[in-house]
Amino acid sequence: MNNPPEEEANMYTPETRTPDAALLALHALRCVGAASTARLHGVTGLDESDLASELIDLGAAGLVTRFPGEPPCWALTDAGRVADAERIAHELDSAGARGAVEAAFGRFLVLNPELLDLCRAWQLRDVDGGVSANDHRDPAYDARVLDRFADLDRRAASVCTELSAALPRFGRYRLRLADALDRAAAGELEYVTDDLASYHTVWAELHEDLLATLGKQR
């Protein structure tokens, strides 16, 4: 750890930080695995500098560790995983949101196989009885797949709306999913399945978040 906090008592300083920023950072690592502050900024919407100080505090508390690298990454410790489960369950129950999130999760699971089918269709084509990588040289095919993504996204949007009404932090997923689809439609094809901010990646993180929030196993 390079920069240990001067005093542990500074862990939550309300006048300088979003009150729940620590939980947002902790839970983001629970949902996306090891990540840099730049990536966590994309996930949570928090400033990188705020994230960095939250992570240092969380590190001092033994809940996260920092891996050197370019860029350096942060990940939960076992204690961090336990702490996240407790805090996220507490957040859910204090908001009285368990029923609403359960219901939304049920609707998410209906959409999930369709999303995975579409990702497969984006990556692979059925050609001559076999399966081939989609080389993206057939714009009509790609347009049909993206059209279905847009259709699925409209149904996913209503699930996201229910979720963010229950717990505002879920609002990030709507923005990130829409952003991925907008970029893909504008020709940045890696935003469908390949990029770390792709539709598939964000969707999988939402899936993980719902499981973690509800304390469920896959």
Binding site: R120, D128, G130, R144, V145
Partner: protein
């Protein structure tokens, strides 16, 4: 009858009305192979159902008559308390939509019929197992949460409605939209007496290719599941065995299956695929289609069919497409007696990866600093992302070709095997074993085409169809008349161009 056709050697209409699966079953009848009697509810009935939201007038009476026919053919009573008849309802459209549509087994097992089946077989556990499968599959296929009625005819109608409705399920609609298939075709529903692969120790189910679809080698290939019903093979819920295990365990069934595969090949003049169940030592075929081989396997198959005088050279060339040629040089594990295959799953991203096994993403990252790593996980989630990035190849025990691991592996272009069900994870210690061997740190080689996970570093080939491809391309030059130095694909394309005007001779 207006909405129903009997399945027999005489079944004459096309796939538009009956669907592809029913035509395959009619072929089995014509070839004199054992397949259950049955009938098809046509795509016309499906279209009427989708239009009106209910089964068409007259179908109710036609179903009663058709079921009575099955009762006469089998000497059993549908839903009856003695010698009960149970049936399956399976979808079958004129277009292939793999895994999109519903299948419901064991219909007619009311409480009374289940008791009857238990008394008849002296095996209450088998009867109850079969009924539970009915209840769960029918509940899963029907959207409303109503309980399953204890009336055989009502169960049958519900199942047909469920199969018809599955045509319009969002996943099926998305599949058709992506593949530019019309939405108004509808599916047929095939009703057949059940054959119970879970009946006793001499029962089971499986899938078989007449030749190896990975290599094209002329040897039957597939999977068998002893003592189970067919959906377990497809779902990967239970542990399957290589098809050749049948030879030792049920030699009579094995011989009959080989004979059937050979007769079907003779008809198609092509490799074939069948789904089968055997009950108390008696083999039944439940589905058949051409093998649809690709890549090196397609090249070897076409060439050997010429050697066997099943097809001519022109036809062999027509059957090998430019797309097949593209895959011919994908690296593969060479087939060899000496290779110890630890587990077999589904190839999700082609290519071969060799590395030491890491069972957590953290270990994968750490080990990858010194040596190539194969990440082996029960399944993957976003948590595994840094491990996936660090690994040279990916293996999961659960999930299919559209699972998270498969999507990510393809996005990264890394060889991947998914659904390798023989891998056993110990959740306490985090270790994984396969074929009696602890895999942690072991050197393995994975083949993302065939789905094999092999111990050590077996021989890898990138020109599996070498000799066969060479001969095929010589034929191609003979037909095009151009013997100049060119790429393989140019030689094949010239032959295709020369063959095109000759039509389908």
């Amino acid at each position: 009858m207006r909405w129903i056709r009997a399945l027999s050697a005489e079944t004459g209409e096309g796939a538009d009305t009956l669907g592809g699966k029913a035509l395959g079953l009619a072929l089995l009848h014509r070839l004199g192979l054992r397949t259950p009697a049955g009938f098809v509810v046509t795509t016309d009935a499906c279209r009427a159902f989708l239009r009106d939201g209910r089964l068409p007038d007259g179908l109710h009476d036609e179903l009663a008559a058709a079921v009575a026919g099955l009762e006469r053919a089998t000497g059993r009573a549908f839903g009856g308390p003695r010698q009960p008849l149970a049936v399956s309802v399976r979808s079958g459209a004129s277009v292939s939509m793999p895994g999109m549509m519903s299948t419901i087994l064991n219909l007619g097992l009311t409480t009374g019929a289940t008791a009857g089946l238990a008394a008849e077989t002296g095996d209450p556990a088998f009867a109850e197992d079969s009924r539970q499968r009915l209840l769960s599959s029918l509940a899963a296929a029907t959207t409303d949460d109503g309980s399953v009625p204890d009336d055989a005819n009502r169960q049958l109608e519900l199942a047909i409605e469920a199969v018809f409705s599955s045509w319009d399920a969002p996943r099926a609609r998305a599949y058709r939209a992506v593949h530019d298939l019309p939405h108004d075709l509808g599916t047929a529903a095939i009703v057949q007496p059940m054959v119970f692969g879970n009946r006793d120790d001499h029962s089971g189910t499986g899938v078989a290719f007449s030749r190896d679809p990975n290599t094209g080698e002329n040897a039957p290939y597939g999977e068998v599941l002893f003592g189970h019903q067919g959906e377990d093979v497809v779902s990967g819920a239970s542990m399957t065995r290589p098809l050749c295990a049948l030879a030792h365990r049920e030699p009579v069934v094995w011989t009959e299956l080989r004979d059937a595969l050979s007769r079907i090949e003779g008809h198609y003049r092509d490799a074939c695929y069948v789904e089968f169940t055997y009950q108390s030592g008696e083999l039944w075929l439940l589905q058949v289609r051409p093998g649809r081989f690709v890549g090196a396997a397609a090249v070897r198959l076409a060439t050997e069919l010429v050697d066997e005088r099943a097809i001519g050279r022109d036809e062999a060339l027509r059957r090998v497409s430019a797309e097949h040629l593209k895959h011919v040089r994908t690296p593969r594990i060479a087939s060899s007696e000496e290779t110890r295959v630890l587990a077999r799953g589904v190839g999700a991203c082609p290519g071969v990866a060799v590395g030491r096994v890491a069972t957590t993403p953290e270990r994968a990252v750490r080990m990858a600093r010194d040596t190539p790593v194969v990440l082996v996980r029960p399944e993957t989630s976003p948590h595994d992302m840094h491990g996936l990035v660090a690994a040279a190849g990916i293996v999961t025990a659960r999930g299919g070709p559209a699972s998270h691991a498969a999507v990510v592996a393809r996005a990264m272009g890394k060889p991947a095997v998914v659904g390798a069900a023989e891998l056993a994870f110990d959740s306490d210690t985090g270790t994984v074993t396969a074929d009696g061997l602890s895999l942690d740190d072991a050197l393995v080689t994975i083949d993302g085409t065939s789905g094999e996970v092999a111990l050590g570093r077996p021989r890898v080939v990138a020109d599996q169809a070498g000799g066969h491809l060479h001969r095929l391309l010589v034929w191609a030059d003979d037909i095009s008349g151009d013997h100049s130095e060119r790429s393989d694909s140019q030689r094949l394309a010239a032959a295709h161009a020369a063959l095109a005007p000759r039509g389908d001779t």
